[in-house]
């Protein structure tokens, strides 16, 4: 393809994908509110449009038309930078996820998994700088918690991912999906558990949502944000949930594998979406079911149970694959 056609096409595709992801995040928020209502004997938002489906758009319009307010005591440059960083890093992570056979932006990127880990470490900066630059005590406490939590759980996540890398022999997500004749959740059950728990902690979801523990820290790191920047933080959080679901699907649930997915790639997209939606439902279900853990419990669970479990998982995987393969 000539470059004069390639670049406009790629640009259009990127715009479509970004808009689609933002819509998906909006509908995740709506779905969360509806499902939480369902699980808590309520109705949830059901007024706007059929079944309340337009609620996501109504929320977005409300947040985007709010006044942009800059508090006087904040560190202005970092305060403006933080929400952008949160959204951009998560949006970039989606680039390497294969959603169907041969359907993705850069799934055969040869260090895709490391790319995801690197971007998630940049994601920490967005959350952390947002809290620090607001310079009030709740936000600073929220960002201290963010750093401590995300560092310790990112380690566990990386260790769990190494098991997948050992089995598939590649950092590229496309190869990992192609190698999964049996979904890795059956070959790597402990790795899956460690990865998923670490993923919950990475996305700051219950039961590990200590950076924005509403009843201790007002709203944690984003207390001082409102309107558009707040919407961006919100978007980043829900995109993060979608991304962790996509990544778990890709790495452990077999990605787009399913009946007829080999011959018809669009069927693969359907299987992928189905698995991702199931994981998203699990995220929301968990928010309704599990209480928030205490701060010291969170750290000791991460370092004393999750990380050793991940290390044992790597050693066992290495031994078994060395003996059998």
């Amino acid at each position: 393809m000539s470059p004069w056609l390639f670049w406009p096409l790629i640009t259009i595709a990127m715009v479509v994908v970004i808009l689609g992801l933002i819509l998906a995040a909006g509908f995740t928020v709506f779905g969360e509110r509806r499902i939480l209502g369902l699980l808590q004997n309520r109705y949830g938002p059901n007024q706007a449009g059929p079944f309340g489906l337009l609620q996501a758009i109504a929320d977005a319009v409300k947040l985007l038309t709010k006044e942009y307010f800059l508090p006087g005591f904040v560190d202005q440059k970092l305060y403006k930078l933080a929400p952008v960083l949160v959204v951009v890093t998560v949006l970039l992570s989606f680039v390497v996820v294969p959603i169907g056979k041969g359907i993705s932006f850069a799934a055969d990127f040869n260090v895709g998994l490391l790319f995801i880990l690197g971007l998630s470490s940049l994601h920490v900066y967005g959350i952390f700088l947002g809290g620090w630059s607001s310079s009030t005590k709740y936000t600073v406490l929220g960002s201290i918690r963010t750093i401590a939590q995300l560092i310790s759980y990112e380690l566990a996540m990386g260790v769990a991912l190494l098991g997948v890398v050992l089995l598939s022999g590649s950092f590229s997500l496309e190869d990992i999906v192609l190698k999964q004749d049996i979904a890795y959740i059956f070959l790597q059950p402990f790795g899956f558990i460690v990865f998923f728990i670490a993923g919950i902690a990475e996305t700051n979801r219950l039961p590990f949502d200590l950076p924005e523990a509403e009843n201790e820290l007002a709203a944690g790191f984003n207390t001082e944000y409102g309107g558009m920047p707040f919407a961006m933080f919100f978007l980043g959080e829900y995109l993060g949930i979608i991304f962790i679901s996509c990544l778990t699907t890709t790495l452990y649930l077999g990605g787009w594998h399913g009946p007829w997915a080999e011959s018809y790639p669009l069927v693969g997209v359907f299987w992928f979406a189905l698995k991702t939606l199931a994981l998203l439902f699990f995220f929301i279900w968990m928010r309704a079911s599990v209480p928030r853990v205490r701060w010291d419990q969170l750290m000791s669970f991460g370092w004393k149970y999750l990380l050793p479990l991940g290390l044992v998982n790597i050693i066992a995987t290495a031994l078994i694959s060395a003996l059998w393969m």
Binding site: L78, F115, S120, L122, I147, E154
Partner: protein, 177 residues
């Protein structure tokens, strides 16, 4: 290739400018963010040089671990003061002279006898790095891991020191009340 040159030199320029801004910036936190930006730009440069593994390690290790530690310490440090650059300080001059000498020496080394041809970058992937790491350099890997262990022990020792310091202070504070 045109695009390659543009992006590569742009990222190099960003790295150099962000590093240079460390000389003028007032708050340590701003300095840390500039340094992080420089490291991200360098990661892009490494990727474009054909070393994707090191680029990602730059992101994960430098940005994700070392700079986060830095930022953590800056936030926990009780001194939230700003540090303006003081050029009228007399003790600066020996340092500056030493710096200029160093620069001259480095420049002489660099432009003296090096004869190189421009070549195209070749991608060396993580597999090659891993084979070399656990093949030829496995003793060095052990040494580095021992170093990390030593650092861990040292940090734990100092952290306990810090803790004891706090505990010793506690009764005095109670008396003061």
């Amino acid at each position: 290739m045109m695009l390659w040159h543009f992006v590569f030199w742009l990222s190099c320029a960003v790295a150099v400018v962000c590093s240079a801004s460390l000389l003028f910036v007032r708050k340590p936190m701003h300095g840390a963010v500039y340094l992080t930006t420089a490291m991200c730009a360098l990661a892009l440069a490494f990727y474009l040089l054909g070393a994707p593994f090191i680029a990602m390690m730059q992101l994960i290790l430098y940005v994700g671990a070392i700079m986060v530690l830095f930022v953590f310490v800056i936030m926990l440090s009780p001194l939230q003061e700003t540090f303006p650059l003081q050029l009228q300080d007399r003790s600066l001059w020996p340092g500056l002279i030493l710096l200029i000498l160093m620069l001259l020496e480095l420049g002489a080394l660099l432009f003296g006898g090096l004869q190189v041809d421009p070549t195209t970058p070749q991608i060396i992937d993580s597999k090659a790095v891993g084979e070399l790491l656990f093949g030829h350099y496995k003793l060095a890997v052990e040494a580095i891991s021992t170093l990390l262990l030593a650092a861990l022990v040292g940090v734990m020792y100092f952290a306990r020191h810090l803790q004891r310091h706090q505990e010793r202070k506690l009764p005095e504070q109670q008396e003061a009340k």
